[in-house]
Amino acid sequence: MTDLVIIGGGPAGMSAAIAAYESGIRDILILERDVKLGGILQQCIHNGFGLHKFGEELTGPEYAWRYEEKVREYGILFKTGTMVLDITKDKIITATNEEDGIFTIQAKAIILAMGCRERSKGALNIAGSRPAGIFSAGTAQKFVNMKGYMPGKSVVILGSGDIGLIMARRMTLEGAEVKAVCELMPYSGGLARNIEQCLNDFNIPLKLSHTVVEIHGKERLEGVTIAQVDENRKPIDSTREFIACDTLLLSVGLIPENELTKAAEVELDRITNGAVVDQDRQTEKEGIFACGNVLHVHDLVDFVSEEAEIAGKSAASYIKSGTQNDMNAVIKTDGKIRYSVPQRITTKKDITVYFRVSDVFKNVKINVYKDGEQIYSKKKIKVAPGEMESIKLAGEKLDDAKELYLELEVL
């Protein structure tokens, strides 16, 4: 029996482990599938991490190292090169690695911190041929930053998610020509600063309301046809344009990796594709917690770490004294607000609610109603789907709540 097993040794897993340790738990094991700790941060060699947590701009590997040093200092056990194959709802974990073979562990508590994966090209059903040269942006990032190889020399990027923008700059710096970034939506899904420093700095055009409609080339990609889309996101034939390129990178969204969550029969949120959790990041399966990108996709690693601390502390308190719930309220959203995390409140205390909106809205008010009565309101100049928002609710206002309703009021 192990007190706490953490699935994933990226920023969420390490941060959760440290928080649990600092809350007095000693019997902790982190299981990481990659050869070292750090998760996807190891290939995110650009800077911009850690401004919230450390007040300075770190690169991904540097940010990861801060946590790894702590993990090592505390002597928290971790196994790298270890893939978890199954988790049961009774918290039995089956994993495999080269040294131990396939083994099982019974845990008192589990924190799910497996991160997310990129949406693949398969899901897009783009017409045309199927040559080599089409990569998800993260795969290209791994080739360039970790393996030291260039996937191609002339590049079109579909999707303006942050990884795509970062890779536009990265490929340019390594000598490739990035010909365009196409974004299906009328706005970018990436951060404004990345559009500025990754595209504008290098005069790379960002084509909003554009998509790739056809792939050309037999063995290796020879070009793509792009087209503008109408309000219904349908391509307009008269705007079709051929761009010669040998590489197409896709940055079309991230999906939480919840196969193990499903195996543990944890209830999933249809919008986030992650678990439904309470303010402690506990799922409805007692003793199973989730945090980081496996719960919902974050923009900033700093918030991943923050969320993981909540999960780590809560898991520690669960291990010591079980769950003590004094209320049970659900959080509902109005659709303009697509989802919230947490989705439930089970303890009366101050909480931060994170959420994303469905479209770009300007001059808005975020209102919260407790069983019909307004308990919170905050003005915002602008909200966008690419940027996660949060509000803080005071515990004293949550008395006996059955339902909290989050509304986005456009002024």
Partner: protein, 114 residues
């Protein structure tokens, strides 16, 4: 003259408005914090960028590096050339200097490699 910028200091990405008179910055608005104003002033006079990249070590290992402070934006590609020519030996500790002088900055390792 007026210039609109997106602040790149932090992920908030504030929209900045800069009033310019010739080459001189008269005022900055739209920033949430003082760093935004500093950014706007530098961006309009002498834009600077931090460079992040990798170096190939003598044994072929790829290690991530960065300039420890921003360098002039128009020197970014020159800086990349120097980074591409670097060929350090292992082991490399995070923070160790790979190139000690380049446009007023140092190139340092941001990853450990053994």
């Amino acid at each position: 003259m007026e210039r609109n910028l997106t602040c790149i200091v932090c992920p908030m990405g504030c929209s900045l408005k800069v009033e310019l008179d010739g080459g001189e910055v008269k005022s900055v608005s739209g920033n949430t914090c003082p760093r935004g104003e500093v950014y706007a002033r530098t961006e309009c006079t002498n834009p600077m960028r931090t460079v992040t990249s990798t170096v190939r070590c003598s044994d072929g290992t790829v290690v991530a590096v960065k300039t420890d402070k921003p360098i002039p934006k128009d020197k970014v590609f020159d800086c990349m050339k120097a980074i591409n020519n670097a060929n350090p030996d292992l082991p490399i500790k995070i923070g160790c200097v790979i190139i000690d002088k380049i446009y007023g900055a140092k190139v340092i390792a941001t990853q450990n490699a053994e």
